[in-house]
Symmetry: C2
Subunit: 500 residues, 2 copies
């Protein structure tokens, strides 16, 4: 059943069960796993490790590409199997453990984990678990629906366990582009000059001597859960489409814009969907995650090509795409996340980066990660890699949340992931604030005028006016009052000023 998937026949001797693989791990090991935004993750071995840890306790460091699917992180946490996790997660059980301080979490730019490892700035990887759909004659592997950090893990790990996933069609071979800049001090350029430049190999090289086991599985990726656009997200999408039309009219951009990047989530999804019925054409994408909306745009003919690090789609789209993958193969490419998110390429191509903010402040600083400045939501992901180096750095959010009890535009963000230097445009359903070429006090007024929910606008204007008058400075603030909205939320359940 798997003979056509292991082209180096003697490797078949290494086939073991997930339970046997789980016994290879020891306490305090550094474990790496494939997987980027639920796609191409370890499904069998990590789950077996969680089961084992219940009976036979151990704690490991676990690093991945990005989030895992299948409740894997939650199962590992419940088994007490994790001491440290990086660089991203979305699991509710893990989130709770992180915020209780029970599991340490390094929230990291997704483009940087591979660099950290290659710079010897992190302990060595003991075992890497890599999902593949094919093992080549030389031991190298064809990854599945993501590349993530797998190529770096394969190069750097002491031992490798391959999860050979028979459910992924072999037609996916050829969609991956595996490239490395090499090692310090002799690193080379990443010669990508267009979204579709192929610069590397279709397989991940593996030293066969490092393969400690092969686990056969047929578990499919966890499907993405897509929320349908609502009035707010449609309004945000419309503001952005109008803005892009204006930029084309001014001659700043052509109708094919510049390569797009869009974060995950319903707002970014709504924006991409908005392009389907627009006048733009010959669009390209150089992003992290190829979502349902990416394939809608490809199907519409508006989008010519999409480069990313994973295909993370809903079940219906998965079935559609992989039942006829040859139709998409020359239109999509999956790269290592240190390449999809490389500062070098993002700046060179001139990416238009669209990411979601948890909250923004009047000067345009953005919090993407920490609820009320303390509690981790998911992680910064790739938003920083793109925002800092993009042609246009756009952040989207609804103006208010939780029945308007929370204003998403606040006097001062309670945690800074993206500083004002790296935020060009903020969009809420209220409007779009174009901050390019503005000094902080000018930025504040534009954000207050365009983006703030009406229920909070007067209060925010009052804060800014009083800060400007009473304190002054480049970015006027009243430090003793800067977090008063967050404090009010904690104490009264709402940022709204109590009626007098």
């Amino acid at each position: 059943m798997y003979e056509d998937r292991i082209l180096k026949p003697e490797l078949a001797e290494l086939i073991i069960t997930a339970q046997e693989a789980a016994m290879m791990f020891k306490d305090k090991m550094v474990v790496a796993s494939s997987g980027f935004t639920k796609a191409g993750d370890s499904k069998a071995v990590l789950m077996a490790l969680a089961e084992r840890a219940h009976a036979d306790p151990l704690k490991v460091t676990l690093m991945t590409g990005a989030s895992l699917g299948q409740g894997t992180d939650g199962a590992l946490v419940e088994a007490g199997a994790l001491s440290l996790r990086l660089p991203f997660q979305v699991d509710p059980i893990m989130r709770r453990a992180i915020n209780k301080g029970e599991v340490f979490f390094i929230d990291q730019h997704l483009g940087e984990t591979a660099n950290l490892l290659r710079a010897n700035n992190f302990p060595k990887i003991d075992i890497a678990i890599l999902e593949a759909c094919l093992i080549e004659e030389d031991g190298s592997i064809v990854p599945t629906t993501s590349v993530g950090n797998s190529a770096s893990f394969a190069a750097l790990a002491e031992k490798i366990i391959i999860e050979l996933n028979l459910s992924v069609p072999l037609s996916i071979k050829g969609v991956h582009d595996i490239f490395s800049t090499g090692e310090y001090p002799n690193r080379r350029e990443i010669p990508i000059t267009k979204a579709n430049t192929k610069v590397g190999s279709s397989v991940i090289a593996i030293n066969p001597d490092k393969i400690a086991g092969i686990v056969i599985t047929q578990k499919t990726d966890s499907p993405a859960e897509i929320e349908a656009p609502d009035a707010s997200t449609k309004a945000i999408a419309n503001h952005l489409i109008r803005f892009f039309n204006q930029e084309v009219a001014k001659g700043n951009l052509t109708k094919s814009l510049l390569p797009l990047q869009a974060g995950i989530g319903k707002v970014a999804n709504a924006v991409l969907t908005g392009f389907v019925h627009s006048d733009f054409e010959d669009l390209t994408m150089y992003s992290e995650v190829l979502q349902d909306s990416t394939f809608d745009l490809l199907d519409s003919g508006k989008l010519l090509f999409a480069s990313g690090s994973s295909i993370t789609v809903s079940q219906a789209y998965y079935d559609k795409i992989f039942s006829n993958f040859d139709a998409y193969k020359d239109k999509v490419m999956l790269r290592p996340q240190d390449i999809s998110n490389a500062a070098e390429v993002i700046r060179r191509l001139g990416i238009i980066a669209i990411n979601t903010a948890l909250e923004c402040d009047i000067y345009g600083n953005v919090n993407s990660t920490h609820v009320s400045g303390t509690h981790m939501m998911n992680g910064i992901g790739g938003s920083g890699d793109f925002a800092r180096n993009s042609y246009l750095s756009i952040f989207v959010t609804t103006s208010a949340a939780k029945g308007d009890k929370i204003s998403c535009i606040v006097p001062m963000v309670s945690h800074v992931d993206h500083c004002e230097h790296d935020v060009d445009i903020i969009v809420t359903e209220q409007g779009l604030a174009d901050l390019r070429g503005l000094a902080p006090r000018q930025r504040a007024q534009v954000i207050i005028d365009r983006c703030v929910h009406p229920e909070y606008r007067q209060e925010l204007q009052s804060y800014f006016d009083r800060a400007s008058k009473e304190r002054g400075g480049q970015t006027p603030h009243l430090l003793e009052e800067a977090f008063s909205w967050h404090v009010s939320l904690r104490e009264n359940g709402s940022m709204k000023k109590a009626p007098i």
Copy 2:
């Protein structure tokens, strides 16, 4: 007297006085000037513009490479001639005007201004003033002690005024490396793979039709003011040298380390000086500003090569270097600041970046710019360009300032320029905190243990402990108390807790 400096003789017809040049400017113009950290700036024309504005008011936008010398910014402010300034300044008169809101200031990553202009994200430049020491036969110019943004200004400005500076020896020709990645959407790689890779031209190309005037000057650069190392800065340097020795011993680095970048200031200067008597050898530098200490290191034989965007030295060093520039010419190179500070090159080469913090917080966020969160000091400069993309991002500061009334390690920084994702190491005279591979709560304890001034350690530990216990989260904070040290400083003149 200037015939050997204008090799296209008909251009001599364009020679005008600085006063005549000043009359070319109109209200609301966007003006660009050469100059990076006091070196190679417009000395004659901008000063004449300030004089003119007293009699004949106008307000312009002024962008440069980085800071100007000669009190130029102050003179322009006093003449009311500036509406907007970017991307950096160090002038006390300008600083006051910025903080009063009288002059708008865009504090910008120094590597990004050229990209902003090339992306059409900023109004077009009407007139650029470029200091040169030679005009070639085709109208192109040889810059002087800095490159800054001059090559981009020359390409993008409507008109150009050349300040031909006769005081700069012609032997400087050949030290510049002018390269551009081209225009969107066809930008190319920056093929620098070593600190000394030369990739461009020794001159800045200029369309002679754009030259509106040539002003002859002999004004010299404002000399850098270097503070001698004191006990604190020497202690910081020693901590760092010890750390590098340990990294070599561990096999993470060789004795030639990786290319160094060092910010301006006495701490960075002390660190570089510390290398002179160290065991390191064959060092290289890929930095912004080549300072006195850079030339000490070159003279000592420890440093093989230094790439930067300016030579900014004290008068004695200026005299020494330029009386015998041929001795240094194959050891230094000056590049455009979008190349010296390019994310692409910084990451590829694996820079060790050493920059100064104004304050750090317990999680390793860094404020480089804003006193008490509101008042601009100088600007972020290139610190962000380097910190984000470096192999090692190091920030140095004394643990306390102003007679210890200010702790430079605080519960929460009042302004974030560098978020915790981008800070690997913090050093004060108390010690060195190695934050690599640590989660935020772990980072906090290391910073408190190693870096905090003893007078503030107990209070900071108390804050962290109470925040962890009472609020929890990935980065525990008590938002209502997070800025209490800053508020106390404002109200009581000290961050120290009042004795009970």
